[in-house]
Structures are given as structure tokens and as C-alpha cells.
Subunit: 154 residues, 2 copies
């Protein structure tokens, strides 16, 4: 039975987005509910798949990933197998943080982290150019993250 998200749920989600590590008692105070009711709601939101996951954000530079790139990919024949293979490949590559199927001149946008330009070259040549149906690749490098969050408006 899928429930609608009410205003208490929104408060709860907002608090969790700001700090995923908040203790249940503090979360309860924050949304003016008892700890037990808070706990029940949270478990419900988790089991309904509204809360998808809890992630830890790590400093990219500290791990040596100096490059953040957006790589645009165009494909010609929209062969089912080629698409499947392409999607499977990018999903498995840990350097690929995101892959979106998009409208416009290119078919996919990849967000990729790499240590240096040599790794970038290696990544494109070995993992992208070699795939069938890939016709065009364009790369853009970020030289400043003005904003970076996963928190949705609430």
C-alpha cells in the first residue's frame, strides 16, 4: 500500500537530506514527533523506496581525482545490442559517476572522475572509442564546482 507523502514526511526527508547521520531522537525533536513514531515513518519511507540510499561524500582531490569531466557521446545505429553493451560498460566503470540518456545533439552524457589527462586519454581510447556504434565523443573539463549536492528541494 503506497502512501502519499505528507508534510511530516517532508520535514523528515529534509532533515535527513541535511544530515543523514542525525540520531533518531534528534530527528524526532526536529519534526515534533515521538522517537517511535519518527522511527516508524522513516522505516516506511525506506521500505517504500522513497528513501533510496545513504551515501558518504568524499573529497575528490584527497583521493587524487583532479579531473572532473563531462563526456558527450553520439551513437549512430541504435542497435539494441550496442546500446545494451554500452550501458552495461559504463555502469561497470567506477570512474563513471553518472550516465544520462539525453535529448539533443549527443545521446549520452557521462560524468567521469580521473586522476590526470593521461588517464583521461586512456579512458576515452580504451573504454569509449572502441565501442561499436559510438560515432562522436566530446569532452568538457570542469575547473570549478560552484555547487554540488544531491538534496532535492523540499
Amino acid at each position: 500500500m503506497v502512501k502519499l507523502i505528507d508534510s511530516t514526511d517532508r520535514q523528515l526527508l529534509k532533515a535527513l537530506q541535511e544530515n543523514a547521520q542525525i540520531a533518531n531522537v534528534d530527528l524526532a525533536k526536529r519534526i515534533n514527533l515521538s522517537p517511535s513514531a519518527t522511527h516508524t515513518r522513516r522505516k516506511r519511507l525506506e521500505s517504500e523506496g522513497i528513501i533510496l540510499s545513504y551515501e558518504t561524500t568524499i573529497d575528490r582531490q584527497a583521493l587524487g581525482y583532479d579531473l572532473l569531466c563531462f563526456i558527450y557521446i553520439a551513437m549512430n545505429a541504435h542497435q539494441r545490442d550496442d546500446i545494451t553493451q554500452f550501458q552495461h560498460n559504463v555502469t561497470c566503470l567506477p570512474e563513471v559517476l553518472e550516465c544520462h540518456h539525453v535529448t539533443g545533439e549527443y545521446d549520452y552524457i557521462l560524468k567521469v572522475v580521473l586522476k590526470n589527462t593521461n588517464d583521461l586519454k586512456h579512458f576515452i581510447v580504451e573504454h569509449l572509442s572502441s565501442l561499436p556504434s559510438v560515432t562522436r565523443i566530446q569532452t568538457t573539463v570542469s575547473y570549478g564546482e560552484v555547487k554540488q549536492t544531491t538534496a532535492l528541494p523540499l
Copy 2:
């Protein structure tokens, strides 16, 4: 005093990236360390800023954000004030999840979530076109997230 990241730290970070909610005792088992040593290490990584934050990922669709767009923005005069104002604005807008300063034809890439095309129009007209120095805007819509993570390779 900033420490280097050793192999135990890497294991710890990897485990936290896979599951930010893991209990300290389980994390300790996972990396073959006592709970207290694990705790000390984790706190150190947090205070050194290597662990940046813990985020909760929420289902976009469940909150009604049907549109995920990439908006490209070109600016002409690179006036300091205009840049500052632009960056301040996008940082404050909750619909903007990411904003990257990039190389190439456009100056910025924005990742934005919106409920519908009407909101998209409103967002562009009210929050982007109206800003000084913005010369060109291009929008691309995602119609499928093949991959989405914040986990860095470890």
C-alpha cells in the same frame, strides 16, 4: 597535521561509500580493526575534511521532479560582479543540484530538477535569462539515468 590516506583508510572509505549507515562495530569487522580504532580513524577522516558529508538520496519521481535537465550557459563580459552574482544565485536555488564552471563553448553547466516543462520555462526566464552577462542558454533533458552515484573509485 594532515595525514596521508593509507590502505586501511581506503577500506574504511570504501565501506562507508557502499553503506553510509553501517554501524561502527560492523565497519570494524569489515576492515579488521577494533571498534575504537575504527572510530578514531573515522573521526579523523571527518575532521580532516576527507569525509565531506553524509547524504540521503531520495526518489526524485516520488517528490514530483519529473524533469532532470542540463542547462548550458554562456556569458560574455567576464565581469567580476556578474560572475559573483551568477554563482551566488545558482547556489541559492534549490532546484540547482550542481553547477560546474567548464571549458568549451559554454561557461557553466547546471544540473537542475524540475516538476514539469512549465517550471522549466519559468526557471529559465526568471532565474537565468534575466541575469546580466548571460548571452546564451541551451537546455538538454535527460530521459533516462543509466547510472547515478557519488561513490569514487577506491
